[in-house]
Symmetry: C2
Subunit: 652 residues, 2 copies
């Protein structure tokens, strides 16, 4: 009973919710992210939660986890508990968190180092079996990745030495540009070439040398081609190779598990009745009885039940027959749309054929396109005007016309397909929802702004007119997305993307864990490290003013590029900074500024993050996309899963 209750939906949801709350606390805790801007020059002093508020939430979550741990260990027993490394880790992490919590309460929330923040993502990992599996898979790939990274390191060192020999300081100060900027000493040369490996400083790094002699370009081109194109892509290949069977394997194991389950169910059901025959049978009515109590999707339930009922006159089922009725589960659900409503009047019937016709959909799409083009034209015409100068009346009237047409289309479709038929298409739900939303917004606009009696008091509204119009336009553009399923090729690509999102949960979870750990570490290490210059730069906040200001900064630095909002002063800002480093473009700026304001060792942090995020995770992502697409392709070309399964089985 406890088992059933523990694995019930509510309980698992509760657990997930408490994990989410615990993780989200990072945004609210000191240093809190609840300011509008993360720029230290404009930032208002953030709201500091009173001591004890976040802590009480935290305690609640920890208590829930403790309960979870107790129930889990009770359910699996002491013997199993000792064997499972995850559960032991869970216990350790929980106790450390509680001790840390007590300490921080006793110091009235004044401590600097909160170890438990670093440990929080562990709860997320621990709770998902899929993530644990993925982690194991990644661990298996590590040795091969290490070999490529070793080769990459060798490549880097080799070229650094050659580079330092080539671009040594010469007599003529005019020819020292390359040496001065990029190859001054060993750490600098290494960093330059490491950044070049990610292509983030590509043309710049070669310019001072290339200016003098064309031949120097060859050095950089060879370095990039070997490093970036060959070795980096080899890394992708290795990771992909490791993940090649990943999806198929998980499908396979789930099939095997189901077979095992069906076999066990058969055994149990046949045990229920007396061993009346040598051959094992199950009674159909007991199967039906069980089916009616089992929780599963109603569609599959009815399918299995109808399949089982055809044996009802015999009264018994053999193992093969029992298995066969569950084959229904393999079949994809073919969506059945409710029948069209029948109208008696011939006029209505004629109208129904017209509106149900394919061309009518096309006309709808064409009008949506026309609407988008209208908005686009007006946008282009008005692009130089500020929001207040714009005359929105024309746009609003056009939009109103289109929205009325959308409403008409919707009504007519409901008429043609019937209400149930209409909502059985996911497309139509999307359409209808947006149409109603648009209508409501447009009416609100007219009521609040265009009616004569409150014409002269437009300023006290919370949301300004322009923002409302803007929202309407965006929704219209968004609604235009409905054309995607109507174009075949795009539908295929879009459905692959949709599938990808489903299979991505485990990876997204690991990404969240990695981001969380690095962000918390970054806050520890670099909080408040960068201090903006007191006054001058506040005045010269536009890029043009920056040049003429007396406070001149070198081009391409953190200060000149105004990267102030990218810092480690709070959690949200550090997430965005880490994202920017993951994208790798211009990450040398962050390396440079943090090693200037703190120590040279800050580079290690950034290189670690680059390795985990950009090298590891992006490659994993690519591998997953490749896997997903080829799997889908194979499936759509060779029918069933079991076929592919069999072939792969022979391959291995």
């Amino acid at each position: 009973y406890l088992y059933r209750w523990y694995y019930s939906k509510i309980c698992q949801w509760g657990l997930g919710l408490s994990i989410a709350v615990l993780l989200l606390l990072a945004f609210v805790e000191r240093p809190s992210s609840l300011s509008l801007s993360s720029d230290p020059r404009y930032r208002s002093p953030p709201w500091e939660p009173p001591c004890g508020l976040t802590e009480s939430f935290e305690l609640l979550c920890l208590v829930i986890f403790t309960l979870d741990l107790i129930v889990k260990s009770y359910l699996i027993g002491w013997e199993e508990f000792r064997k499972s490394k995850w559960l032991i880790g869970y216990t350790v992490v929980l106790s450390v968190s509680i001790i840390d919590w007590v300490l921080s309460i006793s110091m009235v929330c004044d401590e600097k180092l909160r170890v438990r923040r670093l440990l929080r993502p562990f709860f997320l990992l621990q709770n998902s079996s899929l993530m644990k599996k993925t982690l194991k898979c990644i661990k298996r790939t590590l040795p091969e990745i290490a070999s490529v990274i070793l080769l990459l390191a060798l490549h880097l060192c080799l070229f650094t030495m050659i580079g330092m020999l080539l671009f040594a300081k010469t007599e003529d100060p005019k020819n020292n540009g390359e040496w001065k900027a990029y190859f001054r000493n060993l750490p600098k040369s290494l960093t330059s070439l490491l950044v070049l490996l990610t292509t983030a400083n590509n043309p710049d790094v070669m310019i001072p040398a290339y200016k003098l002699n064309r031949g120097y370009a060859i050095f950089f081109v060879v370095f990039s081609v070997i490093g970036t194109y060959c070795l980096m892509n080899l890394l992708t290949a290795i990771i992909y190779n490791q993940f090649r069977g990943y999806l198929l394997m998980s499908v396979q194991t789930s099939i095997i598990r189901r077979r095992l389950g069906i076999r066990a169910a058969f055994q149990v059901l046949s045990c229920h009745e007396a061993q009346e025959a040598a051959e094992e049978h199950v009674r159909v009515d007991s199967v039906l009885q069980v089916m009616s109590r089992v929780e599963m999707k109603s569609y599959y339930k009815t399918a299995v039940t109808t399949e089982a009922q055809q044996y009802a006159d015999v009264g018994y089922m053999s193992l093969d027959q029992f298995r066969k009725i569950f084959d229904e589960l393999d079949k994809d659900r073919i969506k059945e749309h409710p029948p069209l409503p029948q109208y008696n009047s011939p006029v209505l019937q004629r109208l129904q054929t017209i509106f149900g016709h394919y061309y009518f959909t096309i006309a709808g799409n064409a009008l949506a396109l026309a609407n988008v083009i209208c908005i686009c034209t007006i946008l282009v015409l008005n692009s130089e005007m500020s929001t207040a100068e714009r005359d929105n009346v024309v746009l609003e009237i056009i939009n109103l016309c289109f929205i009325l047409y959308y409403l008409f289309e919707m009504c007519v479709k409901i008429f043609a397909l019937g209400w149930r038929g209409y909502i059985s298409y996911r497309n139509n739900i999307f359409d209808g929802f947006l149409t109603i939303l648009l209508l409501a917004l447009q009416i609100t606009i007219f009521v609040t702004y265009r009616l004569p009696y409150n014409w002269n008091t437009p300023s006290h509204h919370v949301v300004s007119l322009w923002e409302m119009v803007c929202l309407v336009n965006m929704l219209i553009v968004f609604r235009f997305l409905r054309i995607i399923p109507d174009i075949k090729l795009m539908a295929l690509v879009a459905s692959t993307l949709m599938d990808l999102v489903k299979n991505l949960r485990a990876f997204a979870g690991i990404l969240v864990v990695v981001y969380y750990v690095f962000a918390v570490l970054g806050i520890w290490l670099f909080e408040g490290a960068i201090k903006p210059p007191p006054e001058t730069s506040v005045i010269s906040n536009t890029s043009m003013a920056n040049i003429t200001s007396n406070f001149s900064v070198e081009c391409g630095t953190y200060e000149q590029l105004e990267y102030w909002p990218n810092n480690f002063d709070d959690f949200a800002a550090s997430i965005i900074l880490l994202y920017n480093v993951m994208i790798v473009n211009n990450w040398q700026v962050f390396i440079e500024v943090y090693s200037r304001f703190t120590t040279e060792w800050a580079k290690v942090y950034f290189v670690c993050w680059w390795l985990t995020s950009s090298v590891m995770w992006v490659n994993l992502f690519v591998a997953l996309i490749l896997e997903n697409f080829t799997y889908k392709w194979d499936r759509s070309h060779s029918c069933s899963v079991t076929d592919v399964e069999r072939i792969r089985y022979q391959t291995s």
Copy 2:
């Protein structure tokens, strides 16, 4: 006979050579690339070849091609000729080239537009069947790529509209940063987001908005995640999926062809003798006779011959037996090293075991590492000194010691393995060659610089002392690469890379074609478009001086970044520019400057190049690496090619 002669090695080499010469002419022709620097500020007036020099080379090549065309069409006959599109294209291109050549001669080399330069790469394409096949494969992939690119375009347009709505001009001039810099009008917004798709302006584009409100970052993050990570990688997946069977298919077809050839050879050989029996046989001696006249690698030849000789006592062979003797070709050549030389003296034998031991190799590697570390240390210590200040004596003496040790190692190895045994390892050849080169260089240095009698005249040498030392050091570092095969994991990765290079020829050819066409087009369109400011910037050529100079330029532009050497003024410079755009980092700078100096339509050229190079070709390259690696992996894990072939055959 003509057929044999035409497909002989010399003839094909001659054809290849003339294609290479024709392609290389682009470097010499006006605008010639024979200047040291491509920077318009420092560039000396390039050497202009006299009219008629390059033209005569060109005519020679064209005549060779005409001969080739005539021979080829004679060989395959008129009927086949009409069917082959490639040959017809060949004829057309040749005639256009010749007409263009005549025109340009009649205008005394003064014409602007040389159409034939654009057509030259066609000869390269036409001559390689592998490239034609790859091209066909790419053509097959195009529709699916188009669908993704369409989706990408939709994504781009959608986000552009949302972005323009979000970042419209507002009343407060302080909040207009984003609008001013990136979303001023439709083309500008489109370019901004297109560049963001390649991540080339990643943190910059979001800074002005992100500074005001954290929430705006979400817009850019969502755009990048969908566009860059999902859609772009989907493109890779699609291309990879198309190329999945590529390698295997080519292996398969070559196997099938060989079987066909063997069967045909059997038929021919059995026809030679009278039909004496109902069962077909071939006489072993005739097989041996043919084998002795056939051109093939001597290793395979002896293998097949010895295999055939075992049937010599029977005198006849059936078809199966005939086939079996050619199975030898499938087996990889196992390299046999010559036996160790035998020495009589026990001391010599003892020495031989010592020097032939594995640990001796390790000691050699360790010393090479020590040498590299020495050089590195001295480099780091001297990094702030200019070349003349450096005291090279210590380094030279250290190097001399190491080189003498290398020489000793080499001699000892020759002694232990014998001369033939020594050169049978490729590793040793690499080692020995570099050692001798190093020795020669070091001796030269000592003779010219360190001997007392020419001590005081060091300046008149062509190559300075420092450059010589530099070369020695580089060679030592290069020699250190010999450790790669000794580390197992690295050996695997390196061998994959080596294999890749073999399979890459077709792709490299297509890359050359694409580069050539775009470079020639670029020269047509943009030659001399960018003019450097007359004097000021020549003075302020270091980056520090640039800030304080009166001629202040905006940060991040072509002028400030000193990208002058990247231009379309000659062929070599345009190749490097195109390479830089292919790498995509900072390509927005090139787009910006060329659309500023010429017209807005310059963007189209750059976007086209980006699509072909970075999107298409890089993805093809990734697909090829993936294909190669997984093929290699499969092969090393499931033994023979035919096995994998069978499995794939079942899959399809």
